[in-house]
């Protein structure tokens, strides 16, 4: 029982971070029906910028994260304007290739600036536990991550449902041509989507690396991207709250599978995420909460 609880807590804490990155993927997908393969790298570079502000400049952690969010949002807006917008949004292949190119580029730039030595990220949440019961320890990190994720989702829902920018965003995501005909500035709205996703991604990256058991290094992004996309697909690629559920489920599956099926070594956590991804796409391609896609053969 204690062990179950311990694994539950583990699952929740990693699941919540996957959820936040999944939210970033969902934002881009909603806006452009594109999966941004560079999203993991944007999370990574965001958390490194936060690290630089917090450790090298010496700012307190929260302002450092906010500054990093602004910077990555500007970066993503620039990327959208220069590299994404010139392409026809309905032709996915070149766009995917561009995001793969960005993946390589951003990853190596981070490697040039910060190197590949793992570093300790200054924690956002206090160390220690909320309560302990044998081996089951609910850490402040877990609670903090979950609360941050939920608050973030509430804020995003408000932004998308209650503001004019959000209305434009939803209009573009539901029908690009009609939105354009109604006078919605398509380009700027999509740019806003990219910037928002990058800012959210920064939070996700920071949450991921501020776990005292993890360290920050440029290679964490690719791994996280797979988990997060499994979460996003499970939740339905265009559902924000679905991303939360998906992230939590993926986190649970990972910790439970590795915990209980002892013949599965811990590196296979990634395989569990890929397995979930394949099963969901085969059985229920719209995910748990996604809106139906009409497909013609």
């Amino acid at each position: 029982m204690e062990l179950l609880l311990a694994r539950l807590f583990d699952g929740v804490s990693s699941g919540a971070t996957y959820a936040v990155i999944a939210v970033a993927l969902v934002l881009i997908y909603k806006a452009t029906t594109l999966i941004n393969f560079a999203q993991g790298e944007l999370c990574m570079i965001g958390s490194f910028i936060a690290y630089a502000f917090a450790v090298d400049v010496g700012l307190p952690v929260i302002p450092a994260v906010i500054l990093a969010m602004v910077m990555t949002a500007l970066l993503a807006a620039g990327i959208e304007r220069t590299l994404i917008r010139p392409f026809d949004p309905s032709n996915h292949l070149p766009l995917v290739i561009i995001t793969l190119g960005l993946l390589l580029l951003i990853n190596s730039v981070a490697g040039m600036i910060w190197g590949y030595d793992p570093r300790r990220f200054p924690g956002v949440f206090p160390d220690g536990t909320v309560f302990e019961w044998g081996v089951a320890r609910l850490r402040w990190y877990t609670v903090g991550t979950l609360i941050t994720t939920i608050v973030l989702l509430v804020l995003l829902s408000l932004l998308l449902n209650r503001t004019k920018v959000g209305l434009a965003f939803r209009a573009v995501s539901s029908n690009l041509e009609s939105a354009a005909l109604s006078g919605v500035p398509i380009g700027r709205t999509l740019q806003f989507g990219w910037a928002l996703a990058a800012a959210v991604g920064t939070i996700a990256g920071v949450l991921f690396v501020s776990d005292p058991f993890r360290q920050i290094e440029p290679t964490f992004a690719a791994r996280v991207l797979i988990f997060a996309s499994a979460a996003a697909v499970l939740g339905g690629l265009d559902s924000l709250w679905g991303a939360l559920v998906g992230g939590l489920v993926i986190g649970m599956v990972e910790s439970m599978l590795i915990g209980y099926l002892t013949f599965i070594p811990s590196q296979m956590g990634l395989a569990s995420a890929v397995g979930v991804l394949i099963i969901v796409l085969l059985i229920r391609p719209n995910g748990l909460f996604g809106s139906r896609r009409v497909e013609r053969v």
Binding site: P86, D88, P94, V96, L104, I278
Partner: protein, 434 residues
């Protein structure tokens, strides 16, 4: 120049002879010329890198069959390369098989794995397929490290294959090289040292075996593409509905293409093991998967010769960029970092913008400026109207896949070409895919 005229044939024959000469002389030149000096930087040339490239040529070829000709975006071909490389490595080291004999196992296994993954790919398409296959690529290193398997795979340490290919007795590699170095003028400069050690001789022999395998792979894919099943593969890419209406069995075509692509990946893996003599789990991860896409896009989507360019680019660009030690205006700190990945990333982005058809397409346009090859029976006036834009239709569709503005590859092909000339090129049909 009229297509298949005497003049055209002479040009083609000369081109092939030149290629054969380069292929024949390359290893001897590379062995004599260890490195090239440009500025303060030394760029090494090694036969190992050339052989490494050859294995990636076949890998890119396999990926190109799936992505460029069938339109299924897969990022997971590194998985099959890894499987091929590891099967060969264990069979050669633990069971004492030869590399070529191990292909008997590698090809069916990777083909079957490909078909197995191709079946879910019928329902999982486009971006989702890219995502799932990327996951597959990411999982491979973990599978190799599994405790149950690591006894055979060598786990995280990788597996060394001590005995490579030995040059058989009686092949006059020595004498050939001796002869080359005696050529007046050129011999002294390019093939200076006439001696060829046993190790070097074995390497040269392995190179020729790899060349043969590469040539067979390219020839087979070329034949496939120009056959009836090949046209079905291309038709599925250009317009699935249209292909189905015309009697193409979509599920069969798509899964089989996945299988062929995977088997080529397996062959590439065996070639990798032959070339490098060492397999390690992290070689066959996400990075290789993305590098293969780089190779494909750089060479040219929907072309066969693009794979040759792509395979060499993804080996030599990283090797050479990491050897750049000084570059005006760039600090040493940056140059000692992962410049190779950055260069490949930039290459990918820039080419997608300026040359979406890849280097091959760029070269063809260049050639079209110099010589116009006109299909037989076409009037000079029509040829002039078609001009340099006269590209075979199925290639134009491949380029359109990457086009910035057209969403549907099959719709408005070549808007600037007159309808008349398009129909002529269509009738000519068989694109020369090499």
């Amino acid at each position: 120049m009229v297509q298949a005229s005497r003049q055209h044939r002479i040009y083609q024959t000369l081109g092939w002879l030149l290629l054969a000469l380069v292929v024949l002389l390359l290893p001897f030149w590379v062995i004599s010329t260890q490195s090239i000096q440009i500025g303060g930087n030394t760029f090494t040339l090694s036969l190992g890198n050339v052989m490494h490239s050859l294995s990636y040529v076949v890998a890119v070829l396999g990926l190109g069959l799936l992505v460029g000709f069938n339109g299924q975006l897969s990022l997971g071909n590194s998985f099959f390369i890894g499987v091929g490389a590891y099967i060969s490595a264990t069979l050669v080291v633990d069971n004492g098989w030869g590399f070529l004999r191990s292909l008997i196992v590698v090809l069916p296994v990777t083909f079957a794995l490909g078909v197995l993954f191709g079946i879910p790919a019928l329902r999982i398409r486009g971006l989702y397929l890219a995502l799932v296959t990327l996951g597959l690529a990411a999982v491979f290193p973990a599978i190799v490290r599994l405790e149950g398997l690591s006894e055979r795979t060598g786990g995280a340490n990788g597996k060394r294959i001590p005995d490579g290919f030995a040059a058989p007795e009686g092949v006059p590699l020595q004498e050939f090289r001796q002869g080359l170095s005696n050529i007046p003028g050129i011999g002294e400069q390019f093939f200076a040292d006439g001696r060829l050690g046993t190790r070097a001789a074995d390497e040269v022999w392995t190179y020729f075996v790899l060349i043969l395998l590469t040539a067979i792979a390219i020839w087979m894919v070329k034949n496939l593409i120009h056959s009836r099943p090949g046209r079905a593969i291309i038709a599925v890419r250009d317009n699935e509905t249209g292909a189905a209406v015309n009697g193409v069995n979509l599920p069969m075509t798509k899964t089989l293409t996945f299988g062929y692509s995977a088997a080529l990946g397996g062959l590439a893996g065996t070639m990798y093991a032959m070339a490098i003599g060492f397999v390690a789990p992290d070689v066959f991860g996400v990075n290789l998967a993305i590098f293969l896409i780089v190779g494909l896009v750089v060479g040219g989507l929907g072309t066969l010769s693009g794979a040759v360019i792509g395979g060499f680019v993804i080996v030599f660009v990283p090797v050479w960029t990491s050897q750049v030690k000084e570059l005006p205006g760039v600090s040493e700190r940056v140059l000692s970092g992962p410049t190779a990945t950055a260069v490949l990333g930039i290459l990918l982005i820039v080419l997608t913008f300026v040359m979406p058809g890849g280097i091959v397409y760029g070269l063809r346009r260049l050639r079209a400026r110099l010589i116009t090859i006109v299909p037989r029976g076409m009037s000079p006036a029509a040829a002039a109207a078609a001009g340099p834009a006269a590209v075979p239709v199925d290639e134009a569709a491949a380029v359109a896949m990457m086009d910035r503005h057209s969403g549907h590859a099959s719709s408005d092909l070549q808007p600037e070409t007159e309808t008349g000339s398009v129909s002529v090129t269509t009738k000519q049909g068989s694109a020369d895919g090499n």
